[in-house]
């Protein structure tokens, strides 16, 4: 039975962690994810969980300790944001290469510099090819549900990869919303017990983890990781389907919102999808065939499926909440357009970089994107594909 509650995104994740009852949590405070280890420490202090909470001295050590714990045979979790993830960077790659299904809550925030504590996706985009499964969450409910499903996906024998659940800093992490929680018993049964095949603490089979892996082997080990990432797609679908059966809440690789018969569509991730749905509804009321594709599973990137879902659209805007500073466009834009190109589907597509450093993105701005798309759909002229939304810019000639 679901329980109706009102929780912030951080509380929702911390609640999921309490219900998962991981063996080890190692974390370091950083805005806006700080509340997660805070809430979790109270669970530890009050005996609500069996977890060893390791209050490390840095995020680098947070991930190192999670790696040590997970390799030892424990379920390990952590939470971080922005610069915390940057400091972890080295260990992020090591966690995935050691095939350790660590689960991390990433409360998205702009990476320095200059320093800014507010939301964008530059932290997540920096580790997008590090071998972690990346799930994005529109709201508190999705952050909670994604966390409940995380271990089932990450620990699956065909996967064995770490997983991060992303949500927007402050926008969802600090906003209290209605949420449906599952009861503790349900979570315990759904998540199940972690039984790794090989682990450091098994004295009957001592193992060695983290070799010097030279020219004859690293290539193959990396290809194994790539295989596992590809395998993750089906596992995510299977776990999501089971979750839907039990809770009634449906999840796929992405959500299609009024996309079936849409002529113009926006592709985006996390909380902006909420604003976009509101705009789609108001445009539909005016007879404009607007739609939305909200990416949930960013890694592995469901390129074929997204292409299929967008193939009938006349003009597409991909919204990136992180600028890639590469002269060509944002990461999501690159993934969507290259997926479509290799499948020979050519739809006029533009990129909007938006919301950097917590800049508000309003319904009016989203509506202006659809207006641009309507024009592109008609003229078939993309113009400048690399655009900004909500950026102050003078009329420089």
């Amino acid at each position: 039975m679901s329980i109706r509650e009102r929780l912030s995104g951080n509380e929702a994740v911390a609640t999921a962690m309490k219900q998962i009852n991981p063996d080890v949590v190692a974390a370091f405070p950083i805005t806006p994810s700080t509340e997660i280890p805070q809430y979790f420490s109270t669970f530890v202090a009050n005996g609500a969980v069996d977890t060893e909470f390791v209050a490390v001295e840095s995020e680098h050590s947070a991930m190192s300790a999670c790696i040590g714990a997970e390799a030892a045979g424990a379920r390990a979790m952590t939470a971080t944001s922005a610069n915390g993830l940057s400091l972890m960077w080295e260990m992020i790659y090591i966690a995935s290469s050691l095939r350790l299904p660590i689960v991390m809550s990433l409360v998205n925030r702009a990476v320095s510099g200059p320093l800014n504590i507010h939301n964008d996706h530059s932290d997540a985009m920096g580790v997008r090819d590090s071998g972690w499964i990346m799930l994005f969450s529109e709201n508190n409910q999705e952050a909670y549900d994604n966390t409940l499903m995380a271990h089932r996906i990450a620990e699956h024998k065909d996967v064995q990869l770490p997983l991060m659940v992303c949500q927007d800093g402050f926008i969802t992490s600090h906003s209290i919303e209605n949420i449906e929680l599952e009861d503790d018993e349900f979570v315990k049964n759904f998540v199940g017990t972690y039984r790794p095949e090989h682990y450091l603490l098994n004295d009957k089979e001592p193992i060695a983890v983290g070799p010097l892996d030279l020219q004859a082997y690293l290539f193959e080990h990396k290809a194994q990781q790539a295989d596992a990432m590809r395998n993750a797609k089906q596992v995510i679908l299977d776990v999501s389907q089971e979750f839907e059966k039990l809770t009634g809440r449906k999840y796929g690789l992405f959500e299609e919102y009024k996309l079936d018969d849409a002529e113009i569509a926006i592709v985006c991730m996390n909380s902006t999808a909420g604003t976009t749905k509101f705009v789609v509804d108001s445009l539909r009321a005016k007879g404009i065939k607007a739609g939305l594709l909200k990416v949930r599973v960013f890694r592995p990137f469901p390129g074929e499926e997204i292409t299929k879902a967008l193939s009938h659209i006349k003009a597409i805007a991909v919204l990136d909440k992180a600028d890639s500073l590469n002269g060509i466009g944002g990461a999501l834009f690159e993934d969507v357009t290259s997926s479509m190109f290799v499948q020979n589907i050519h739809v006029p597509t533009v990129n909007y970089v938006y919301g950097i450093g917590g800049r508000d993105t309003t319904a009016d701005q989203i509506e202006s994107v659809y207006a641009d798309l309507a024009e592109i759909a008609q003229t078939k002229n993309v113009g400048n594909p690399y655009r900004y939304l909500g950026l102050r810019k003078g009329d420089v000639k």
Binding site: S97, L98, I207, V209, E220, Q224
Partner: protein, 100 residues
């Protein structure tokens, strides 16, 4: 694990480069690194034990029952000479590798 080699296809490699057969470096012989060779002269040896622990390569076998050392394990000895230098009784002599 020792059946893993440079021809093993990726499907048969352990994930993450894990090794599940601890201590299998014994299958990797380092004796061919040697340019100088320690020769054990047992008649001079007083079994004082000073050479037992100084070998970086664990190449001086010590019998569990008699607590006495035996001849070198040349599969691993790299010929560093630390044992010979520490021996007070001239029971280890360093020779050029290949010399009899």
């Amino acid at each position: 694990m020792s059946d893993i080699n440079v021809n093993t296809p990726m499907e048969n490699l352990t994930i993450g480069g894990n090794i599940y057969t601890s201590g299998n470096a014994r299958d990797f012989k380092t004796g061919d690194w040697r340019s100088a060779k320690p020769v054990y002269i047992s008649e001079n040896c007083k079994q004082c034990g000073l050479c037992f622990p100084v070998c970086p390569d664990n190449a001086i076998p010590v019998c569990k029952d008699t607590l006495q050392r035996t001849d070198f394990n040349y599969d691993y000895c790299k010929g560093c000479g630390v044992c010979a230098k520490v021996c007070p009784f001239k029971a280890i002599e360093m020779k050029e590798e290949g010399e009899e």
